[in-house]
Subunit: 203 residues, 2 copies
DNA sequence: TGTACATCAGTGAACGCGCGTTCACTGATGTAC
DNA sequence: TGTACATCAGTGAACGCGCGTTCACTGATGTAC
């Protein structure tokens, strides 16, 4: 047993539960793991759950937000370490690879449960769209050479295409077409997007 | 009560159960409706279910196949009624519209449960990839002016982008960004794809 | 310093509910004679 | 033609199980005196 009453101890435990939930919801689906198992993975028993969250639904909504934040910050890191065009290519290649496909629990929130959020409540959709807005904003920085509305359009499109390809690649994992999907989408996105065309014109 | 023992009566009932399952699974998720309610929607009681399917899992796999076939034949109809470029635009516009977004039960199988199939068994993934292959084949016909492998790549990419956009639009339904997603993806797909570029070159 | 008490993170038994599955039964029909 | 029987699509009660949720309790710690 660790020391109790330490400053922020309960917040740390809460964050741990959320981290476990984010991972398992992404890997097994939002209904793919129950509270008892979640709490066990967090090193606790199920009874304590309700001193952290008012209901399972509340946890689910918070886990959605946490999971989407994880993707956003990952993209931000890749973004800031490279110039615009290379940064976007780095994001696309890190996204559309077999390692990401086979690691749903540690990967992007969108292919893992965007469709589940589509069946969620109004509050779920508000969380989704505000977190998606942050993702769009990060990607949009890579289209700063375009007019603002065109850059936003390209960013939205790139995110849609990436998450769609990953979802289809996962659904066909183990079949030859799965790698084709990753390859095709990475190829078209990196060779066909305006950011790359712009590069070519400069060269 | 209808007449019993009529030729093919049981097959018709089976098809009706599958049609109901396809619609409700797409609308509410694969776990969003139970056997009792499914059978009630098909005009029966739950006890009879097991004279049609060996288990719920078997029904789910068959419903996946039925749902994907529905999309394929819808695309085929749009494809054959128009020349290549216009046919593809018709498919894209019919896909990326608010009517489709708000009608998951009657819409495409991919945004409805591709992610669920990603968590399915090996047999589920085999069904998925063989049905996806048919979809690719229909879309690929619209890229017949390209080398075969490039046409296939574009077809795979277009399908990924369409289903990704629809999934994100549904998850943000009710927020302004939802319509933006549909518009952005339809716009980029129809103006940026090689089929359209080819058209322009000819003109 | 030592003792009694309050605090509170965490425990685990218990409950109700929904769901997948089983199974003995029903009742309308076609068929044999 | 009429009667007895076989067939079989469909019924609904019952069971077991897992899961979300509740709640009385535990036990380690900090604090008051």
């Amino acid at each position: 047993m660790e020391v109790r009453y330490s400053k922020g101890h309960k917040d740390q435990t809460r964050d741990r539960i959320l981290a476990v939930a984010s991972t398992y919801f992404k890997r097994n689906g939002v209904n793919g793991i129950g509270i008892a198992n979640l709490m066990r993975e967090a090193g606790l028993t199920h009874g304590g759950f309700y001193s952290y969250f008012r209901s399972r639904d509340k946890l689910v909504n918070e886990a959605y937000a946490v999971a989407m934040d994880q993707t956003t910050s990952k993209w931000k890191k890749l973004s800031t370490s490279l110039p615009a065009a290379e940064g976007l290519e780095a994001i696309i290649k890190a996204y559309l690879c077999e390692k990401h496909r086979d690691n749903a629990g540690g990967g992007c929130a969108l292919p893992a449960f965007a469709d589940e959020m589509g069946r969620g409540s109004r509050s779920t959709k508000k969380i989704f769209s505000s977190k998606l807005e942050e993702m769009i904003s990060v990607i949009k920085n890579h289209f700063s050479h375009l007019p603002a509305d065109e850059g936003r359009r390209q960013a939205i499109f790139a995110i849609s295409a990436m998450m769609g390809a990953m979802t289809l690649a996962r659904a066909s994992a183990g079949e030859a077409v799965s790698e084709e999907i990753l390859e095709a989408s990475a190829n078209v996105l990196t060779s066909g997007l305006p950011v790359r065309s712009a590069k070519r014109e400069v060269t």
